[in-house]
C-alpha cells in the first residue's frame, strides 16, 4: 500500500476535500467556501492530493474543476480487504468446528437411541 496516498488523505482537511469531491467535481473556490478554508490552503491540499494520484482537474472556462480518481480508492479497498481476512480465517475455523460439533451431536443421539 502506497503511503503517499495514505498520508495525503490522513490530514483532516484533505479528507474533507475528498469527501466533498465525492459528492461532485468542484473548482477550488467552491471547495474553499464550503469548507471555510482559505483558497491558497485549499490549492496546497489539492496539489498534494493530485501528486498522490487521488484527484485530477480539467479546465472549464477560467477555472479548473477537480475530480476524484477511482483507481487509488479501489486499491485502498483491496488493502482494507486484507484486514477482513483475519476475521475470515477465524470464522472459517468457527464454521468448521460447528460442523464437527453437529456431527458429534448426531452420533451421540444415535448412541443414546440404541
Amino acid at each position: 500500500m502506497n503511503t503517499t496516498m495514505l498520508n495525503a488523505i490522513a490530514e483532516p482537511n484533505r479528507l474533507r476535500i475528498v469527501e466533498l469531491l465525492r459528492e461532485s467535481p468542484s473548482p477550488v473556490g467552491e471547495i474553499a467556501t464550503k469548507l471555510k478554508l482559505r483558497q491558497p490552503q485549499v490549492s496546497k491540499h489539492l496539489r498534494l492530493l493530485s501528486e498522490a494520484g487521488l484527484v485530477r482537474a480539467y479546465p472549464n472556462a477560467q477555472q479548473r474543476i477537480y475530480y476524484l480518481q477511482a483507481e487509488p480508492f479501489k486499491e485502498l479497498d483491496r488493502w482494507l480487504e486484507t484486514f477482513r481476512k483475519v476475521w475470515k480465517d477465524r470464522l472459517d475455523n468457527l464454521n468448521d468446528y460447528m460442523k464437527e460439533l453437529k456431527e458429534e451431536e448426531k452420533l451421540n443421539k444415535k448412541g443414546a437411541g440404541q
Partner: protein
C-alpha cells in the same frame, strides 16, 4: 497547522453466515470449552479460555502458534460491556498477559497508535429457519497502525498458505 498522520479511523465490519443454529454459535463464543476448539488463526490451537459472562466480566483467550511458527502463546483479553443471550455481545479486546492484564501494545513492538483495546460488537441473527446464523462483527475505530499490522499479518498468512501449496 499540525498534520497528524494517524487521524484516519475506520470501523471494520465483517458479516458471515455460520452453518449452525444461533444456540450453538452463541456457545462457541461464550463457553470456554467451545472457544478452545476454534479460537485463533489457521493452524493455531487455543490451550485455555476463561470467561466471566456478565456485563463487566472479563475473558482471557489463549492462542498458541504452531511449532513451525515459533510456538509462542498469545493472550487476548477484554471486558464484556453488553450481553444479550443468543442475540448480542459487546466487549473490548486487546493484548494481555496470561492473567488477562493488558499489555501496552508499544512495549511489544506495535506502532504507537495501535489501540490498547478495540471495542467490538457481535450480532447473532438466525437464518435459514434457524438452521444457520449470520454473524455481524464490528470492530470500532481502527487506526492506521493497526491496519498496517493486520495487513502484514494477512500477507504473512497468504505467504504461508502459498508455500504450503507449493510443497504439495
Amino acid at each position: 497547522m499540525t498534520e497528524n498522520p494517524h487521524v484516519i479511523k475506520q470501523d471494520l465490519v465483517v458479516i458471515r453466515i455460520i452453518d449452525a443454529p444461533v444456540e450453538m454459535v452463541w456457545k462457541a463464543w461464550t463457553d470456554p470449552k467451545h472457544v478452545m476448539r476454534w479460537w485463533g488463526p489457521k493452524d493455531y490451537t487455543s490451550p485455555s479460555a476463561k470467561i466471566d459472562l456478565r456485563e463487566g466480566g472479563k475473558f482471557v483467550f489463549s492462542m498458541l502458534a504452531p511449532k513451525e511458527q515459533g510456538g509462542f502463546e498469545h493472550f487476548t483479553a477484554g471486558v464484556y460491556k453488553k450481553v444479550v443471550p443468543l442475540e448480542f455481545l459487546e466487549f473490548t479486546q486487546g493484548l494481555s498477559d496470561k492473567d488477562g492484564n493488558p499489555i501496552d501494545p508499544a512495549s511489544v513492538g506495535m506502532p504507537p497508535d495501535f489501540p490498547a483495546e478495540i471495542r467490538t460488537t457481535i450480532e447473532f441473527r438466525p437464518k435459514a429457519k434457524g438452521e444457520m446464523t449470520e454473524l455481524v462483527i464490528t470492530e470500532y475505530d481502527w487506526t492506521m497502525g493497526q491496519m498496517a499490522v493486520y495487513s502484514y499479518a494477512g500477507l504473512q498468512q497468504s505467504i504461508d498458505k502459498l508455500s504450503e501449496s507449493l510443497k504439495k
